[in-house]
C-alpha cells in the first residue's frame, strides 16, 4: 500500500512539475477565486492548479486533483455551462438558468458530471439548507465513479444563486482514505467564503 501510494504521489509530482503555472496558496490570507469576487481564507497551504475546468472555475488540491479536488465556480451566469464542454455537438452540457431554485443546483451539477464524465454512476446523496457566502444556500453530498477508472469517489458541495449567478464550491476525493482525510480542510474553506 505504501509503495503504491509513493508511486501515485511521485506520478502526481511529475505531473505537477510538467504543468507550469500551478501555484501555492498561502494560508491565512483572503484570496479571490475563480476570477470572481468570491473570496476564501484558507487555514492551510493549498495548490492552485493552472488548468481551469472552465472560464469561471478554478481547482485547488492538497495531494493532486485525483486524490483531493476543490473546485470553485465563481458566478456562472445564466446560459453558461458549469465547465468547458467536452463534446458540444453530441453531448452538450446543461446550462445555468437565472430562475433556478436552490434545489435545482444539485441536479444541474449531477447531470453535468454524468455527461462530462460519461457515467451514470453519479448520484446526489443528500441535500440540505446551509448559508453560503452570506446568502441562503444549499449543501449537498454526492458520490460517483468514472468510466475506465472504477475509483469510488465521494463529494460535498455548497452553493447559492446570487444576483442570478451560480456560486459554488465542491470537494471530492476517493472514499478510501482520502475523502475523510481532507474533509475538514475543505469545510474550513467553504465556511470562509465571502464577498
Amino acid at each position: 500500500m505504501d509503495g503504491a501510494r509513493t508511486l501515485i504521489l511521485l506520478a502526481i509530482v511529475a505531473a505537477s512539475s510538467a504543468a507550469s503555472g500551478n501555484k501555492l496558496i498561502s494560508p491565512r490570507t483572503k484570496i479571490a477565486v475563480a476570477r470572481s469576487p468570491l473570496m476564501v481564507n484558507p487555514s492551510i497551504e493549498w495548490n492552485k492548479l493552472d488548468a481551469r475546468p472552465g472560464r469561471n472555475a478554478e481547482t485547488w488540491t492538497l495531494d493532486g486533483d485525483a486524490l483531493n479536488d476543490v473546485t470553485f465556480y465563481g458566478g456562472i451566469p445564466a446560459g453558461k455551462t458549469l465547465f468547458a464542454e467536452v463534446d458540444k455537438r453530441n453531448r452538450p452540457l446543461p446550462r445555468v438558468s437565472a430562475t433556478m431554485l436552490l434545489t435545482d443546483i444539485p441536479p444541474l451539477f449531477e447531470n453535468s458530471y454524468r455527461i462530462a464524465l460519461d457515467t451514470p454512476l453519479m448520484n446526489i446523496d443528500s441535500v440540505e439548507p446551509m448559508a453560503f457566502a452570506g446568502s441562503k444556500g444549499v449543501r449537498f453530498t454526492y458520490s460517483f465513479t468514472r468510466q475506465n477508472e472504477e475509483v469510488h469517489r465521494r463529494g460535498e458541495g455548497r452553493a447559492a444563486m446570487i444576483g442570478g449567478k451560480l456560486y459554488m464550491i465542491t470537494y471530492e476525493a476517493p472514499i478510501l482514505h482520502y475523502f475523510d482525510k481532507s474533509l475538514a480542510a475543505f469545510r474550513q474553506l467553504a465556511d470562509s467564503a465571502s464577498f
Binding site: 438558468s97 431554485l101 447531470n111 455527461i115 475506465n148
Partner: protein
C-alpha cells in the same frame, strides 16, 4: 488473450448490473434466440451505460448496455441484437480483426486502447468490424431469429427507431436530421437505412412467424425501467428522450412514464416546459404514482414557474405526508422564504 484481461477487470466493475433475475431473463432470451448449444459458450455482462450498444469479444464475453435494454420493445428485438453480436463470434470476426490490428497496428496504441476497457468510443474503435462483416453478422443473426421461437421480421424495427430517435435528438437541439442515408467510405457499419432495408427483405424470404414477446418484455424489464429512464433523461437529450418516452407509452401513459416526462420537461426548464411538467406531475399523481417525490417535484416546479401559492401548498402537503423525508429541512427552508 488480452480480452481475458479485459474480462477480469470488467467482472469486478461497478458498472456491471449484478441483479440475478435480470441477468437470468436476458440470458434466457439470448439462449432462446441462438439455441442452448451456442449460448453456453458465452458469458454475458449487463453494463449500466445509457447508450444503445452490445459488444462481443473474441474470448466469448458479451456486454449488453442498459441503453439497449431501454430501447428494444420485445424479447424478439433483443434477441435480434444479441444474435447479431453472437454472429460476429461464430464467424470469428473479432479474431480476424484482432490479427489485422496486430500485424499493422502500433503496439503502444494497442495497449493504450486495452487500458480504457469500457469507454464507449474506444470499445468500437478497437474491436470494430468491417462493413461487410457487419452485414454478414446481420444476416446470420436474422437466420438465428428465423429458426427460433421469435419472428425475424422485428430485426429491422430497431434500426427504423434508431433513425427516428436520432432525428428527434437533432430536432431537440434545433438542428437538421444528420443520420447519413449512405455510409461514408470510412464507416465500418452499414447505414441504419440500408440495414433496415436488407433485414426486411431477408425476413420476408424467411417468412417465419412467432410471438415477439412484447408483453413479456415489459414485464421482465418493469423493475429496471425507472432506473434506465432516470439515466436517460439526465443526458440532456430532450428530443431523443421525449421520443423514447412516447415510444414506451404508446397510448398508455403510465404514472411512471408521466413522472419521468415531467422530470424531463422540468430539467429543460423553459417557462412553458415548467407548465407542462406541472401538468404531467399532476397526471402521474392522479394515476396513483407511488412515490412521494411527485408531490414535492410538483411543488418545486410550480414555485419555479412563479405559481407561488399552489407551489407552497404542494410542498406543505409533501412535508405533512412525509414527516421523515430526508430532504425535509431543505423543503422547509424554501417554504420559510
Amino acid at each position: 488473450m488480452e480480452a481475458d484481461e479485459e474480462e477480469r477487470v470488467l467482472r469486478d466493475s461497478r458498472f456491471v448490473i449484478t441483479d440475478l433475475k435480470l441477468n437470468a431473463y436476458v440470458r434466457n432470451i439470448f439462449c432462446r434466440t441462438v439455441g442452448d448449444e451456442r449460448c453456453k459458450n458465452v458469458r454475458i455482462y449487463i453494463l449500466r451505460i445509457p447508450h444503445l450498444n452490445a459488444t462481443m469479444y473474441p474470448n466469448g464475453m458479451m456486454t449488453i448496455w442498459s441503453g439497449l435494454l431501454l430501447r428494444v420493445r420485445s424479447e424478439a428485438e433483443l434477441g435480434a441484437v444479441l444474435g447479431h453480436e453472437f454472429a460476429h463470434f461464430e464467424l470469428r470476426h473479432s479474431l480476424k480483426g484482432f490479427q489485422a490490428q496486430r500485424s499493422t497496428g502500433d503496439w503502444l496504441t494497442w495497449t493504450a486502447l486495452l487500458g480504457v476497457n469500457m469507454q464507449s468510443a474506444m470499445i468500437g474503435s478497437f474491436y470494430s468490424f468491417t462493413r461487410d462483416q457487419e452485414k454478414q453478422a446481420d444476416l446470420l443473426g436474422l437466420e438465428y431469429l428465423a429458426k427460433s421461437v421469435y419472428p425475424s421480421s422485428v430485426a429491422a424495427n430497431i434500426w427504423d427507431r434508431t433513425m427516428a430517435e436520432q432525428d428527434a435528438a437533432e430536432a431537440g437541439r434545433k438542428r437538421k436530421a444528420r443520420h447519413s442515408y449512405s455510409a461514408g467510405i470510412f464507416a465500418s457499419h452499414p447505414t441504419d437505412l440500408t440495414r433496415s432495408k436488407y433485414l426486411r427483405e431477408a425476413a420476408a424470404k424467411q417468412a417465419d412467424a412467432g410471438d415477439p414477446g412484447e408483453a413479456a418484455y415489459r414485464e421482465g424489464m418493469a423493475s429496471w425501467l425507472p432506473e434506465f429512464l432516470h439515466d436517460q433523461i439526465k443526458l440532456n437529450d430532450f428530443g431523443g428522450s421525449e421520443y423514447l418516452l412516447q415510444q414506451l407509452a404508446g397510448d398508455n401513459w403510465t404514472s411512471e412514464l408521466l413522472y419521468t416526462r415531467a422530470q424531463l420537461y422540468r430539467l429543460r426548464g423553459n417557462p412553458r416546459d415548467l407548465v407542462s411538467a406541472a401538468q404531467f406531475y399532476q397526471q402521474a399523481i392522479d394515476k396513483g404514482f407511488s412515490r412521494a417525490d411527485a408531490r414535492r417535484d410538483l411543488g418545486l416546479t410550480l414555485l419555479r414557474a412563479q405559481q407561488i401559492e399552489s407551489g407552497r401548498m404542494a410542498l406543505q402537503r409533501y412535508l405533512d405526508e412525509n414527516p421523515e423525508a430526508p430532504d425535509k429541512a431543505m423543503i422547509a427552508a424554501l417554504l420559510a422564504d
